[in-house]
Symmetry: C2
Subunit: 321 residues, 2 copies
């Protein structure tokens, strides 16, 4: 934490120099220790100028999702109390699952600049070039039944949409169950994985990928980056990641306060499929009809052509018209 305080001092001086003596005095550590911290921060990517007789000056901060930057100004109560970040890892969900199994608390957050084995829903892969996305996984330990896990997934989609709204002014929409789209193109995907007994969730890991500055040519046709959708230059990965963590905390607190209906409402307001005629592949069935909304249990409500309404609990949806 001394390093966070040191960084804080440098940040507050903006572009002025701060003498080693003053820092040593304020933090109650030796000049040698300060030098060691400065060296470590430089390794993390902080550009820090050092001049004899003047001291140190923070020139630039790294564009990396590291704990030092995420924590600064995060302002959450419990989310992100523990942050682990990787330059590269297999999959942030795998790391989070391992840590959760070892007992790491709710609100532990994993970030990675790139993943070698990124996964999407239903065993699909999730590819993202280094340093151009937010790749994060959060550990939750909700007092919910396995059948209620979709509340956390749907809440997470709302949190992603609201974080993008707040940071960019754009209006993302949600495609059931949990894709977040801008102008019809997918900018974020969510993969929820859990370990549970029949009547108790042990823990749940929500993995979120957001394309921030991924070039269009590296993305599938139906995907996009928020940077190229009107938010160019106005949003950093760090500030968006922080807003996401704040939204996840707020949404999760709502669910635990019995306010699921509130999240349900927020989800519905952003639903891109409502009113659309769709085709759904659900387990081994094929359903066609018009989406009327979201059932409180998380399933999609579809009015079939002959008038009956079906609840779709899982599947892939294709809008027909």
């Amino acid at each position: 934490m001394t390093e966070d305080q040191l960084l804080d001092l440098l940040r507050r001086c903006q572009h002025d120099f701060l003498s080693g003596g003053e820092m040593s005095h304020k933090l109650g550590i030796s000049r040698t220790t300060i030098w060691k911290h400065i060296e470590h921060l430089r390794k993390l990517g902080y550009e820090i100028e050092a001049q004899p007789h003047h001291g140190y000056r923070l020139v630039s901060i790294p564009d990396r999702l590291i704990p030092e930057e995420i924590r600064f100004g995060l302002n959450t109560r419990w989310m992100g109390q523990k942050i682990v970040s990787y330059e590269e890892t297999g999959s942030t969900n795998d790391v989070a699952t391992k840590l959760a199994a070892q007992g790491m608390p709710e609100g532990t957050v994993i970030f990675a600049e790139s993943q070698s084995k990124g996964r999407g829903r239903l065993g699909r892969s999730w590819i993202s070039p280094k340093g151009k996305s937010i790749l994060t996984s959060v550990i939750f330990r909700p007092k919910l039944l396995p059948s209620q896990a979709s509340q956390i997934t749907l809440m997470s989609a709302v949190a992603v949409a609201k974080a993008i709204e707040k940071q960019t002014g754009l209006s993302p929409q949600i495609k059931w169950p949990n894709d977040v789209l801008i102008e019809g193109k997918k900018v974020s995907g969510i993969l929820t994985e859990m370990q549970a007994e029949t009547d108790q969730i042990r823990f749940l890991v929500v993995g979120i990928g957001i394309n921030v500055t991924v070039p269009e040519e590296s993305l599938p046709e139906n995907a996009a980056s928020i940077h190229y959708k009107g938010a160019g230059g106005t949003v950093t990965r760090i500030s968006l990641a922080q807003e996401l963590l704040r939204q996840l905390e707020a949404g999760y607190d709502l669910i635990h306060e019995g306010e699921w209906e509130n999240i349900h409402q927020q989800w519905q307001e952003r639903s891109i499929l409502t009113g659309k005629h769709v085709n759904v592949r659900c387990m081994e069935r094929q359903i066609e009809g018009t989406v009327t909304g979201l059932d409180p249990d998380g399933s999609l409500l579809i009015r079939l052509d002959h008038g009956l309404t079906e609840r779709v609990v899982a599947g892939d949806v294709v809008a027909v018209r």
Copy 2:
């Protein structure tokens, strides 16, 4: 598999000697190889007499849940194609979970003579002295939603009850959700654990413990062993374990053929709580009323005193009268 064939030859000769030459001829392997297999079988606990000029004779088989014995006369189609057994392990569910995560197929079965970290439902411990129980875990990969996982748990309780019925003639009952009782005392517990996405079970491990010859003094007051409940000497752990695997296969096949209603019925016929006045602690609520049956989704139906019926999806039930 040569070892299984060799054992088979010895078994078929009952208590007669079988010459090394004849075995060598029938199995197409050298006498030295036969000797090596005999040595290995002895290490597993088989008592095999060897006499010059006479050959080998099977004197006794070990009372251990080892693949060699479980496979012999098992007669299943897919259950137990792969069997792994331990003298001692932490928990058979942990082993099964690890193997399932590595991709081991449905129907893989783990046995242990004892567990150092046996677990029951909701984080409780499960203690059993060495060699006196059936401790087993089975890997399933059902095409079900996480919310339907209880079908597999309830089916497993029916399988345990039917296996005990067939092997002992006793009439076990089921206490919701999945305890199996004889004369009101618990003889078996089931712990289902799963790894899942929100809309897809990845795999499910059913752990089953059955007290066979555990002495009463090693058991909690409300528990018993089937051996001391009228099945003394009439049932071996091996034959009971085999019957259990056959019943699990049959029950699982029924569910996959869309015959859940059949299992549901079999469960209800054995329900000890139906008609009883009970007190249930469910999440943070307390419910009191009369049990009217099992909802097809696996929840317990309780008619409250003022007439309304509540569905209890998880919890502990205490019969009041």
